[in-house]
């Protein structure tokens, strides 16, 4: 059970939120938007392996 992934994702979320706040304050809305998007994409890349792992293990266990 690797709980590290949860911490990693939470850290990415906090960093993205802080960056978003700073960039918004300095008047760079487009950069803030890009940061948000990049954070979401990075997190999705991290979880896509886990999801495929889940589906594989369900498939092998239940002989689908």
């Amino acid at each position: 059970m690797d709980v590290n992934l949860i911490f990693k994702i939470a850290a990415i979320g906090i960093v993205v939120a802080v960056l978003n706040r700073v960039l918004n304050q300095s008047g760079r809305e487009e950069m803030a938007m890009m940061t948000t998007l990049a954070g979401v994409v990075v997190v999705l890349m991290m979880i896509i392996n886990l999801i495929s792992n889940l589906f594989d293990s369900v498939r092998t266990m239940f002989h689908l």
């Binding site: 949860i6 939470a10 948000t36």
Partner: protein
Amino acid sequence: MDIMKIVAAGIIATILAVLLRGERPEIAVVISIVTGLVIFVFLINKLNSVMSVLKYFAGKANIDILYFSTILKVIAIAYITEFGAQICRDAGEGAIAAKVELAGKVLIMVIAIPILAALMDIMLQIIP
């Protein structure tokens, strides 16, 4: 104690998700997905041994392998559907969650049709 670990992970993930929900709701949804996946991957090893015991007894009781694998498939579909629908509902998309559940019900019905047909055959044989 494994249950302690799981409860601790769940509480920590809940705190993180609540922390992030105000600022970045999409990351909070991802955290809840990952928590569910981590817990399930942890549990699947334990479930595997139970499955092998069940399979052993099914073989001993001469249950038709078609029926047994159908039951397993139904359980798998129900679990996966519930997982996806819960995540959709957590994120506030109740309509999508309802559609996912509908799809799960229909697919379970499609898988269960052979058993239903066998049952109907038996009933028609009994009733002259």
